[in-house]
């Protein structure tokens, strides 16, 4: 028996460029922040704008994540997602107005309790509404994109009109809870407290979502469902239960986003969800349909760009987002982090 021929295979180390490629989308965010710093030139305005952009990005992420998850798992494109944002905002604001004494009180725990109750109320209401929406509107049109777009758009119209019926046609003004009013000064820049809270909520939510998706059994099922739903069903899991759970969670997240936006803008209208949907779509597209991480990065990119451009050239704010989308789609036609199933 002769010995195996002597050879020692060597692997060439992947070049720096190759190793960086998967991280490029994540690197874009600091790059944009840096570009903003160079273009704006003043530390204090840059800091204010960056925090504002991050806060807005987190809120966009909260609203968009539900939609991208629903798409990834169920291949359902929900144009009615904006309705959940509006309903969330209206329910949250109603709760907050009921608890006005708590929200206006000087103590921080009371304020937080009022805000917590508003968020809880909004998420419960939109979660329940998501369940009904899935049952009544979406269930009959699984697998048919054209009908989904039409039907969910119809759902959006009806939901928006029902808001008018219930809450009346006027816009509602809302004041933030006492503890979240005002700003802190840091390096000469005034930073609104509420924005820091919004960044905090968004970050916690993103980390929690990643944790659930990557470390728990439910998350495993969801990811497997995104990858290959039929196989998961063949293995004996009732994926439709997972479907409806994710749809409700996605709707509740939209509701949370709605409350956060309501307190940010301090003004709510029935068509706010519809208006926000435009940005949410852009976020979802540039992130890559179905990807939570892509959605997070996309939201930050869009919000930062919009804030910087709004400062540098106010008229171009919305156009800049479209330009960002065009550039990203030229670079990666499927979005920054496409999910395997996205055909």
């Amino acid at each position: 028996m002769s010995a195996a021929p002597e050879h020692a295979p060597t692997f060439t180390r992947a070049g720096l460029g190759q190793r960086l490629t998967p991280w490029l989308p994540a690197l874009l965010v600091p790059l944009i922040i840096l570009a903003g710093f160079v273009l704006i030139g003043s530390v204090s305005s840059w800091l204010t704008l960056t925090v504002a952009g991050l806060a807005m990005g987190m809120m966009l992420f909260v609203m968009a994540s539900g939609m991208t998850l629903v798409f990834g798992l169920m291949d359902v494109i929900n144009f009615g997602h904006g309705a959940f944002i509006s309903v969330g905002a209206f329910v949250g604001v109603t709760v907050l107005l009921w608890l006005a004494p708590l929200a206006a009180a000087g103590s921080v725990p009371a304020n937080l309790a009022a805000m917590g109750a508003a968020i809880l109320g909004a998420m419960l209401a939109t979660g329940a509404m998501g369940w009904a929406f899935e049952r009544v509107v979406v269930r009959p049109v699984y697998g048919a994109h054209l009908k989904q777009i039409l039907v969910t758009m119809g759902g959006l119209i009806v939901a928006e009109q029902l808001i008018y019926v219930i809450w009346g046609p006027q816009e509602i003004y809302i004041l933030r809870p006492e503890a979240l009013k005002g700003a802190v000064t840091f390096l000469g820049a005034a930073i609104e407290k509420y924005r820091l809270v919004a960044v905090g909520i968004g970050l916690v939510l993103f980390l929690a979502m990643r944790l659930v998706l990557t470390r728990t059994r439910i998350g495993l099922l969801v990811r497997a469902g995104v990858e290959n739903g039929e196989m998961v069903r063949a293995l004996g899991y009732r994926i439709d239960r997972v479907f409806i759970g994710v749809f409700m969670a996605g709707s509740a997240l939209a509701g949370l986003g709605g409350v956060m936006w309501a307190l940010y803008a301090q003004l709510i209208t029935a068509h706010m969800g519809n208006e926000l949907m435009v940005t949410v779509f852009i976020v979802v597209i540039i992130g890559g349909l179905g990807s939570v991480e892509g959605c997070f990065l996309g939201a930050l990119l869009v919000a930062l760009t919009q804030n910087y451009v709004a400062f540098l050239a106010p008229k171009l704010a919305l156009v800049s987002t479209i330009a960002l989308m065009v550039v990203i789609l030229m670079w990666r036609p499927q979005g920054m982090m496409p999910v395997a199933k996205a055909k």
């Binding site: 494109i77 054209l146 039409l150």
Partner: protein
């Protein structure tokens, strides 16, 4: 029937209904005198064309676009800007319409290249984003477009009420009526052109792509090219409809041409009338515009009758008419995806079989 490109309405009740609608529109100035009626008739003509051009992408191409009002607006603003800057005259008017149509087709081409390349549903989202950006841009560039106030301008004198010709059947024929017939003729010609397009081999391939794009690609049809061409044609026709609307109204503004509400109106018209039928656009637009103009009166009466019941009165408030159309829209997507036209055809087919 050569003029219909061999694409007949099909069922007898449908044919009769279409003849009634088209006949009424053709004789509208003489049958329904009065400014409001004539305005409604012109609006119906224009929205029939607009809905038909939307049907080319939605019904035949199977692509949902939310930028159709943007193309509509491009045509309208094309005419308005030319007439505003170059003064009244036929040449600026026609030039404006042509420029608007060319711009719409070019923009549609670019959007199609970006979004249809990947997957058709991208198109829906991207058109929504681009259209709303365009609406914001138009209202912000107030120096050029008049912003939220829009533009008022002069159209050639022959098309205004001041130009009188004579009397016909007790109706004074003036420029306004000529203008109406310009709109009517323009819409008829373009509608027949669309009918010609969907009945051509091009239209058949489009339908094949709608049914199964993967298979169409495998057979050897370049899917992207067909879809892009369909959106370009549809955009150009929408822009021409917008140009006619601008000529009729002698005013353009974001609210009348670019708003999302109009987009939803078009969607409702096509779906309620019947997707992928072309004739659906005629019935859908007629029903919708009539409902928009007269249903609100009816609902107002209903709301008054029910004013004792707290929530019901609000549900029937005239401002909530879109609620009921939205419900109708969802129901029609589920239960008759082929709309009124499909229903009538199916009924006729059934009765033909049973006899």
């Amino acid at each position: 029937m050569n003029i219909l490109s061999g694409n007949r309405p099909g069922a007898l009740p449908l044919t009769l209904l279409l003849i009634v609608v088209v006949g009424c529109l053709a004789l509208a100035p003489f049958l329904f005198p009065g400014t409001r009626a004539l305005d409604t008739a012109a609006k119906i003509c224009i929205f029939i064309l607009l809905a038909a051009s939307y049907d080319l992408t939605l019904g035949y191409g199977g692509i949902v676009s939310f930028a159709h009002t943007m193309f509509f607006g491009l045509g309208a603003y094309g005419v308005a800007l030319m007439l505003d800057h170059l003064g009244r005259g036929w040449l600026p008017m026609i030039g404006g319409a042509a420029a608007g149509a060319a711009a719409a087709a070019a923009l549609a081409f670019v959007i199609a290249l970006f979004s249809l390349r990947v997957r058709a549903i991208f198109f829906a989202m991207i058109t929504l984003a681009v259209a709303s950006a365009m609406a914001v841009l138009v209202s912000q560039l107030s120096g050029l477009t008049g912003g939220e106030d829009g533009l008022n301008y002069q159209i050639p004198r022959e098309l205004t009420p001041a130009f009188r010709i004579g009397k016909l059947f007790d109706v004074t024929v003036n420029g306004k009526i000529l203008n109406y017939y310009l709109v009517f003729a323009g819409c008829t010609v373009l509608f027949l052109l669309l009918l010609r397009i969907v009945s051509s081999p091009f239209g058949r391939v489009l339908e094949a792509i709608r049914e199964n794009d993967f298979r169409a690609e495998a057979i050897g049809y370049p899917v992207l090219r067909y879809r892009a061409a369909a959106t370009c044609i549809s955009a150009a026709v929408a822009a021409l409809a917008g140009a006619l609307y601008a000529i009729w109204l002698r005013y353009v503004g974001p609210g009348t041409t670019l708003s999302m509400e109009i987009m939803i109106d078009i969607l409702l018209m096509v779906v309620i009338g019947g997707m992928g039928t072309m004739y659906g656009a005629i019935l859908g637009a007629t029903l919708f515009v009539l409902a928009q103009t007269y249903l609100q009166d009816l609902m107002g009466a209903g709301a008054e009758a029910l004013s004792a019941v707290p929530l019901a009165a609000r549900l029937l408030d005239p401002d909530r008419w879109l609620l009921w159309l939205g419900v109708l829209f969802i129901l029609s997507v589920y239960f008759f995806p082929t709309g009124v036209v499909g229903r009538l055809r199916a009924m006729a087919a059934r009765s033909a079989r049973s006899t």
